[in-house]
Structures are given as structure tokens and as C-alpha cells.
Amino acid sequence: MATVTEKVDRATATHPDVSSYTEVNTDILAMLSRPGKWWWILFGLSVAGIGLLAFSWGNQLINGIGLSGLNTPVGWGAYITTFVFWVGIAHSGTLISAILFLFRARWRQSIYRAAEAMTVFAVMTAGLYPLIHLGRAWHAYWLFPYANQRMLWPNFRSPLVWDVFAVTTYFTVSSLFFLLGLIPDIAAARDQSRPGTLRQKFYTLTAFGWRGTDRQWHHFGKAYLFLAALATPLVLSVHSVVSWDFAMSIVPGWHATIFAPYFVAGAIFSGVAMVITLMVPIRKIFGLEKYLTVRHFDAMAKLILVTGLIVFYAYLNEFFMAWYSGEDPERRVFWERLFGHYWWATWIMLICNGLIPIMLWFKRVRHSIAALFVLTIFINIGMWFERYVIIVTSLSTEFIPFAWGIYRPSVTEMGIVIGTFGWFFFWFLLFIRLLPPVALAEIKEVLPPPMRPKPRQEVPR
């Protein structure tokens, strides 16, 4: 009889192998103490990446933006591509923590903390790119909305200024959301850390005196719900505004009305793929198999499948409308995308984002964590190339054939792009050592509550 009930529980329980609240604390907080060999190797690589970033960017600051491959007619290249890529990655965090919370998708509890952290660090990475792309980064403050001494304001009709508002708002709200959710878990870490250590002082400070009283939980729940509701429109607005950086101008291949929802879907697509890419090694290195089960990966894979289909619909729609428009430049840009100088980038995009996700229709693929890991890396690559294709192919063959040109990323640009991956992973790796990377309190919500053992009853058969 016992085996029967256990089996049913295994099929329906979210974390069948976690048996008590104490166990959750022990397992998750253990991540904060034992880094292990692999963590140090990855951390070393990230620091090396930051070194590369510092060298390449420093070199560009000293010697000028000419070190990049940017020139007429392609004035936006790898920097803006990677900016959009990181803003896109930043999407899934708030989607998972806010929208899935409102939709009562409980599977989010195991992954949402890491996804939110990823969001915050991805925005921090994306935020570097406008500075890098400016060339003279010391003038970056000109973007902010205040008048200069001649009372000239930034041009509010420029989508680039909208971007400043959209991205900073998103950064503020997602950080707040992230930090708010952390409070009860930091308090748990505080209570378990050795008194007098620096760590304990840090946790004491950041736990804001959390004691887990009824009153505190009540306020916490309310605040969380309201923040979730307020953050939900942001999930759509940020990448919509980023897409309008392109769609507002009349560059063929950019001026498409579908860009806003298409970019949002693409952002969620790439963001969730990145969550899987990050969670698979973390799960392995820190032994989190009990907390991140196949159920969670399956749900994320389905989310990738849905958003991937929306993205693919947008691709087809764009190709059709480009033809249907009857506009020569519009038609030619899309023809050039498929068969022109950058054909390889377009086909990488179509294969990685259109064909490879087809495998996710199969349950066996969704349930194989190794397969998902490989697949999501392809999706990440494909999504980087999507932005590359949109930006570079459109600019290189604009209206007048006389002004066409080819862009090739320079060594400096590649160094910076690779270096910012180091920057992102530096923060992320520090995060999993410093703050509870899995939400303790929320996992406990879905575990069976601790009860006094009932006297065993025989079930009549």
C-alpha cells in the first residue's frame, strides 16, 4: 500500500524527493558555503573575460571608435546587436516572476530567483553597450533628460531617449522585485551564518529585520502581488521600446509594425533558453536535482516552444509582407537576407530559431536535460544572429545601391562582446555564492506541510 501512494505522489508532487522544510534550508544554504572546483574555474574564466573587456574597451576609449568595424552605411553593428541580445535575455526573469505568478504557474518557484538575478545582471550588461557604442563614453550623461546651459533638452521624439526611460525603469523594478523576494530567504541565511562574520553582518543588513511574523508575511504577500501586477506591463514595454529603436525609422527591414510583439516574444524565447543554459550546470555542480526536476525543465521547454512559434510566425509574416508591400527596397532587403552577402547569418537564425525548436514538440526531448542544454545553446546563438541579421542586413543595403556597404566586426568588437559575457557571469557566479539562488520560502509553500504523524490506517481493498 505504501508503495502505491508513494508512486502517485511522485507523479503529482512538485518536489517528490524533498521531505522537510529543514532539508530545503540545509541544501540551498549549503550552496553559499562550498564553492567547489568548478565554480572557481568558471569564476576564473569570467574574470579573464572582464580583463578582455577592460583591455578592448580601454583600447577603444584611448584610440577611438574607429577600432570597431562601424562605418557608413552600417553605423550599428555588433554593439547594438549585443545590447538587444542582453535586453532580451533580461526578459524571462520578470516574465517568470511576475506573469507566471499572476497565472498561478507554480512550477516557477524553483527557477524564478535565478531567473530574476539573471535579469538584473543582463540589464547591467546591456547597459554597458550604449556607453561602448557612444565611443566617447564620458558624454553618456547627455542621454539623461535635463537641459544643458542653453536650455536644450534631449530630443524626446527619439526612440533612443525612450530607451533610456524604458531600460532604467525596467532595471529599477526588476531589481526591487528581486530584492523584495530575497528578504525572507536572506533572513534564513542570516540565521544560519556564524555570528560576527562579515557575511552575517551583510545578511543582517539586507534582511531588513525580517522575523517571519504573520504581519510581515501579510505585507510581504501584498507587496509581492502589487509589484507583480505593476511589473507585468514592463515585460512587454521594455522590449517594445527597444524594437521601436528600429521600427520608427523607415529603413527597409526595420519599419515593421509587428516588431514590438515580435521582439517581446523573441526576448522571452531567448531569455528562457538562457535560464535553461544556466540552470543545467548549476543543478549539476551544486547537486540541485531534487529542486530542479524534469517537471521544471519541461515547463520551460514548452515556454520556449510557444514563444519560438510566435517568433517563427513573425519571420514568415515579415517575408510575406515584404513581398506583398510591392516596395522595391523592402523586397530587396529580404531577398538579400536570404541569398545576399549575409545569407549565412540569416540561415543560422532560421535554423536555430525556426527548425531546431521543432524538436521540443517531442516529450522525450523536453524530458532530456542534456538535450535541452544543447538545444538552448543553439537558440542563444540563433537569437544573437537574429538581431545581427535585422540590424546589419538592413543597413548594408538601404535605398540607394550607390551607398551599399559591407560591415565586418573588428577584433575590438569581438573582444568586447566576448568580454561582456565574462562580466555577466562574474556577477551571476558571485550571486549564487552570496544570496540564496533558489527561493527557500516558495519551495516550502508547495511542500506538504509538516504534520504530526497520523496513526496508520489500513485501507480496505
Partner: protein, 439 residues
């Protein structure tokens, strides 16, 4: 979700036939038909514009409601257990909708301006591979046929487990019900096996149905609305149409739920706060989504300032049409946004239903605005009493088919899928060191 209580046993309850309502709805159909024929005699162009706009509206919400039902199947939603069948019932309009579509395929020069322009307009000539009558007819015959057939198969598998032969006594002696039960429950495998099989079929059909929906609805709306200004194109336009139809499906489910709650204490009890609150939230959320899509299309074309793109908006913001456009935005977005924001508003059924109804009036007007300003003859009125009268006819057909469905099949789905039928026990192997975790 496991915290949503679903009763172990759900009774088979039907929408009771009500002569008064049937006569009223039949009168609607008659009025609509007479209005259409009368207008056909006086101003055939206008009659057909009104017909197509109404077809796009009612087919959209019927198919949208079914897609909403399919979406809740994919997400294994439990909260809508008592209203899932209502969304499904809207599909009963689809076979009639297909019949109503066929006359629209006979439309020619008077409706499709590109037919005449093909002779002299160079840009339109470039589109000849798509904008030609044989292909137009082919894709609009085949596309909706595939979509509606798949929808009907989906409905069949969704109702079949409720038609067990041993449930015959539930029918209350209504012959129509017995006839349909006999027709649809052949080769009965037994309750449990039927439920398992239906669930399996629905799980596979639902995603396919949604994919076909996106493609077919895009084709239909490109042909019957976008191509009316043959120089104008917008990649978002089809998405805007079918997502608004999806929203309409949610809203019409809400309105029907409110009407059912009034007439029957059993429905009133089971379509409770959970359903009201969640449907209210969805009507609210997708109204904002409608506004988002509207805005995403508008701002890009307004900002781009390309004459052939702005033309479409200019036709809709003239002194004649502008107020109607603003009214549509107000009814579709501002009214639900302001009125449905609070929790109490969503829990008060009369209020919720009225707001959903107002939003649907807005959506109906929006459909008219997708078509009429493109074909407007200067000096003629923008909207007359004829359009609502023809709409009344469509409403009558729509409501009669939905009423028929809900009085033939149980209003609350009798079989309910499990908490999470997808089993993971094979993929999550049992633990090796069970002792370690005992604290």
C-alpha cells in the same frame, strides 16, 4: 491547480428551452435578414460591407472562444472547470459561419478595389500573384474549412466522455439530446478509457488548432480587410485581428456565464467567485493587450510618416470617422481598463457582464472600422441603423446555435482531467539515499 476545488460528481444540467428567448432570437434573425435584403436592394455595396464586418466579428469571437478553451487545455487549467464548456459552445456557430462565408466569395469589383486597380496601378500589379480571384477563393474555401473542421473535431472529443450510454436518464426525455448522444458516442469504450482517450486527443489537437487559427485568420483578415486599401500593409494587422478575436472569445464566455448564473441556481453556485474573478482578470488583461497591439501598429506608422501607410489612419481620423475611432478605443480599452480594475468589479456578475458587453460593442465597432472607411464614398453616412440591424441577425444566429449546443450537451463539463495528468515518475527516479534526509 491543486488548490481549486472541483466537485467529485458533477450533475448533468442543460440550458432549459425557453420559448420566449427562442422567439426573440428568431425575430433577431428575421430582422437581420430583412434588413440585409432591404439594404441589398437600396445600396448593395454597403449591405455587403456590413455583412463582412459582422461576419468577421462573430466568427472571430466564436473561433476565439474555442481557441481560449484550447489554450486552457494546453495549460491544464483547472479554474475554468465550470465554464470551459461555455467557451466550447461558441464553436457551434462555426458550421453556420462557413455557410455565411460562401456568399462573401462572390464579391468582386464593388468590394475589392484591387480588381480594378490591377489594370493600371503598378504596385498592385506586383501583388498579382496573391491578389487574384482564383487564389482568393481557393484559400478562403480551404483555410476556414480546415480550421472549422479541426474545431468541430476538437469539440467532439471534448463532449464525447459526457455522452456515456448509462447517462441516458440524465437527458430528461428530450429527443434531440438522445439523438446526438447516439450519434456521437458510438463504440463506447467505458467511462475511464473514454476520458483518457479524449484527454489524449485534446492535448494533441489543441496546439495544432491554435497554429492553424493563427494562419487561417491571418489570411481571412488580410483578404477581407487589409487588401481593401491595396497599397497599405502592416505586419501586425492580422495579429491584431486574431488576438482581439481571442479577447472577444473570453468576453463572450464571461457574458454567457453571467446570463447562465441568473437563470439557474446550480450554475450560479458552480460558476462562483473563482471563475468570475479569473474571467474578469482575463477580460481586463486582454483589453490592455488589444490596446498594446493597436498602439504598436499606430505609433510605427504615425512616426514613419510614409504616405501609403498613413493613408489608412488618415481615412479613420477624418472629421466623419475620427469620433467613431475614438469611441472604439474608448469602449475597447478605456472602459474595461477603468471599470474592471478593482476586485469587487470583477466579482459583481452584473457589472462584470455589462463591462464585457460594452467592450464587445467596442470590438464590433472596431470591425466595422477595419472595413468601412477604406471603401467609404464621400458624402455618405459613416454608420447607420442598418449595420446594427444586420448585426442583430448575426447575433440571432450566433446565440441560437450556442443555445442549441448548451441545451443538447451538459453546460458544465462532466468529466474533468486530473490535477496533472502528465506523469513524471519515470523521469524522476526514486531516491537512492532516503535515510539521509530524515531529520
Amino acid at each position: 491547480m491543486h488548490d481549486i476545488p472541483v466537485p467529485d460528481r458533477i450533475e448533468a444540467r442543460y440550458l432549459l428551452p425557453n420559448r420566449g428567448t427562442t422567439i426573440l432570437l428568431a425575430a433577431f434573425v428575421a430582422v437581420g435578414a430583412i434588413a440585409f435584403i432591404a439594404l441589398l436592394g437600396m445600396n448593395p455595396d454597403r449591405a455587403w460591407q456590413s455583412y463582412v464586418a459582422n461576419w468577421l466579428f462573430f466568427t472571430g469571437i466564436a473561433q476565439g472562444a474555442l481557441i481560449f478553451c484550447a489554450a486552457t487545455v494546453i495549460t491544464k487549467a483547472r479554474w475554468n472547470w465550470s465554464v470551459r464548456r461555455i467557451s466550447l459552445a461558441m464553436g457551434a456557430f462555426l458550421p453556420l459561419s462557413y455557410l455565411l462565408l460562401l456568399p462573401m466569395l462572390g464579391l468582386r469589383e464593388a468590394y475589392f478595389p484591387w480588381i480594378d486597380k490591377m489594370a493600371y496601378d503598378e504596385i498592385v500589379q506586383l501583388k498579382a500573384a496573391y491578389l487574384n480571384i482564383p487564389f482568393l477563393i481557393t484559400r478562403n474555401v480551404v483555410g476556414p474549412l480546415v480550421l472549422f473542421t479541426m474545431s468541430l473535431i476538437f469539440m467532439y472529443w471534448a463532449v464525447r466522455p459526457d455522452l456515456a450510454p448509462e447517462r441516458a436518464r440524465d437527458e430528461g426525455g428530450v429527443t434531440g439530446r438522445a439523438k446526438w448522444r447516439d450519434r456521437l458516442s458510438g463504440n463506447w469504450l467505458g467511462q475511464e478509457a473514454e476520458e483518457a482517450r479524449s484527454w489524449q486527443k485534446l492535448k494533441v489537437l489543441a496546439p495544432a488548432l491554435i497554429l492553424v487559427y493563427a494562419v487561417v485568420m491571418s489570411i481571412v483578415v488580410i483578404d477581407f480587410a487589409m487588401s481593401l486599401e491595396p497599397h497599405w500593409f502592416s505586419t501586425l494587422f492580422p495579429v491584431w485581428y486574431f488576438m482581439a478575436a481571442f479577447w472577444g472569445g473570453i468576453a463572450v464566455t464571461t457574458i454567457t456565464m453571467v446570463l447562465l448564473k441568473r437563470g439557474n441556481p446550480y450554475f450560479d453556485e458552480h460558476m462562483g467567485p473563482q471563475q468570475k474573478h479569473d474571467l474578469g482578470k482575463l477580460v481586463f488583461a486582454f483589453s490592455i493587450f488589444w490596446a498594446y497591439l493597436f498602439w504598436s501598429q499606430y505609433i510605427v506608422q504615425w512616426y514613419g510618416k510614409l504616405p501609403w501607410e498613413q493613408a489608412w489612419y488618415i481615412h479613420r481620423s477624418t472629421p466623419e470617422w475620427g469620433p467613431l475611432s475614438l469611441l472604439a478605443i474608448g469602449l475597447c480599452f478605456l472602459a474595461p481598463f477603468i471599470l474592471l480594475m478593482g476586485r469587487n468589479a470583477k466579482l459583481n456578475p452584473t457589472f462584470l457582464g455589462s463591462v464585457a458587453f460594452i467592450a464587445m460593442l467596442g470590438l464590433w465597432l472596431e470591425r466595422w472600422l477595419l472595413i468601412a472607411p477604406s471603401l467609404h464614398v464621400p458624402g455618405t453616412p459613416t454608420i447607420t441603423f442598418w449595420e446594427p440591424l444586420i448585426g442583430l441577425g448575426f447575433l440571432g444566429i450566433f446565440a441560437l446555435s450556442v443555445r442549441w449546443f448548451l441545451s443538447t450537451f451538459p453546460v458544465v463539463q462532466l468529466w474533468q482531467h486530473g490535477v496533472d495528468p502528465e506523469r513524471f515518475d519515470r523521469e524522476i527516479p526514486p531516491p537512492v539515499d532516503r535515510e539521509r534526509v530524515v531529520v
